[in-house]
Subunit: 254 residues, 2 copies
DNA sequence: CCAAAAGTGTTCTACCTACACCCATGG
DNA sequence: CCATGGGTGTAGGTAGAACACTTTTGG
């Protein structure tokens, strides 16, 4: 990642940005990764620009890798945001002013700002595997509960909303969990993930029956210990079968 | 639409294009509208660039209006194409050379070509209502049967494929037909539309039962005459109910 | 011993699927 | 009168939805 704005802009497409809604799941809550911009109280999604010799999908993967350290994970384009004015919270002028104060006069010298269209991606990542890393113009990078997300810079609140809609659509046809849960997990944990994403409750028996019918789960001989109730069995995804199910699709109908 | 490339480029975003897959339905065949570029034997999807004061969605609507004369019709963004090299059939150099021969030396003077990312939209339009109109750098605009589409410029074959996938996904959750069929149509015609899009056959009785259950169709007291068999009843969409069904969604499960 | 949460199977219902005969029209 | 294609209803099967009691564990 460049530390000089001009250099960075010369190597990238200027009118196209990439923004990633990175979903994680922890303690029964769906979370997104957000960055706080230096010298402002404004938060945004992790994003960036496409290098001239890089595809949009590669750029999204690179950005994800830079923020989370993770590669090879589920990442999907879901919508491109092309409104004329994508600034909310702060106007463009206000934001530029604040950044100039923080980074010094001349920060934007030689840079012509044009309107930017942003390609939205959403990613599903394993919460514990992520070490959130701010970049050169942000000073904080952390998980937020979906319900607590504040007013964000640009149109990023709308981006999260649409990403959630896309995720809900996604979960109806493809299995979800491989990238969001730790390697071993219990059936109630998986159920809670589905319940959180879809914001509704399922019957335990029906849920188990349906998920087992996908033939992507391996029931282990281990149980989770240390809980003040009957020990639940641990499960693990069969990666090959899971990937096959991603291709052929499944019907989540409850 | 500008007739001077430089002027046009100064008023638009350069690195972002819009391409529209315009679907029509006629004589039991699904069709797309294609344009032939002057001075080449290359066909492409109708497309264009976003004006500086226009949203991406507005641009797509404008392009659709320019090519078909239709507004207020179903148009949906489905994917953004961001590969590094989106030229197939002809390379960028070959294409520019041909265009320079046709439009004269100096046609590209003062224009810096950069890589372009393209936002794909698909539209459903009523075949008979469309008067295909070429634009200033194309000399033909006509319908092609989906099966007969030739090798296109850029990545437009892939765009059509993905649009078809998006349409097939769409038809499973939303009613389809209002924009593709004439005002009055028979149940077998509607069925043939569904069969063509999904490339499979349905049982007449089951199809009728399911579509009527959506409560979006009005059975008329008229029949289609002039066919060498029993006259089929005519139906019409109830626009209000149709729009409500678009919002709430339907389950097409056969 | 109590509270909390997990394990487990069956019944009912609704919807999807399969299926066939008669009728109207034009040629 | 014949060929073509449309109009119409029912029965069976499958899959989704509803539902409760017992067991294990930690405190």
């Amino acid at each position: 990642m460049e530390h000089n704005l001009r250099d960075y802009f010369e190597k990238t497409l200027k009118e196209v940005a990439i923004d990633c809604v990175i979903f994680g799941f922890h303690a029964g809550e769906l979370k997104v990764l957000l960055l706080k911009w230096k010298g402002t109280d404004g938060w945004s999604l992790p994003g960036g620009h496409i290098l001239l010799d890089e595809s949009a999908n590669d750029a999204a993967n690179r950005i994800l890798m830079e923020r989370t350290g993770l590669g090879e994970i589920f990442l999907q384009q879901y919508y491109t945001f092309g409104a004329v004015n994508r600034y909310t919270h702060y106007s463009e002028a206000e934001l530029l002013e604040k950044l100039e104060i923080t980074f010094g006069k001349g920060f934007f010298e030689g840079i012509i700002f044009r309107r930017t269209v942003s390609i939205g991606y959403f990613a599903l990542v394993e919460f514990d595997q992520v070490s959130p890393a701010p970049d050169w113009f942000t000073d904080e990078c952390r998980w937020w509960n979906l319900a607590d997300v504040p007013a964000l810079l640009f149109d990023h609140n709308e981006m999260i909303e649409r990403a959630l809609t896309a995720l809900r659509q996604h979960i109806r046809n493809q299995p979800v969990g491989y990238n969001l849960l730790p390697e071993k997990f219990t059936m109630p944990e998986l159920q809670r993930l589905y319940e959180t994403i879809l914001d509704r409750q399922f019957d335990r028996r029906n849920f188990q029956k349906l998920l087992m019918s996908y033939d992507i789960l391996e029931k282990l001989d281990e149980k989770r210990v240390g809980v003040a109730n009957k020990s639940p069995f641990l499960y693990r995804f069969d990666k090959l079968k899971y990937e096959r199910a991603m291709e052929t699709g499944v019907a989540f109908s409850m």
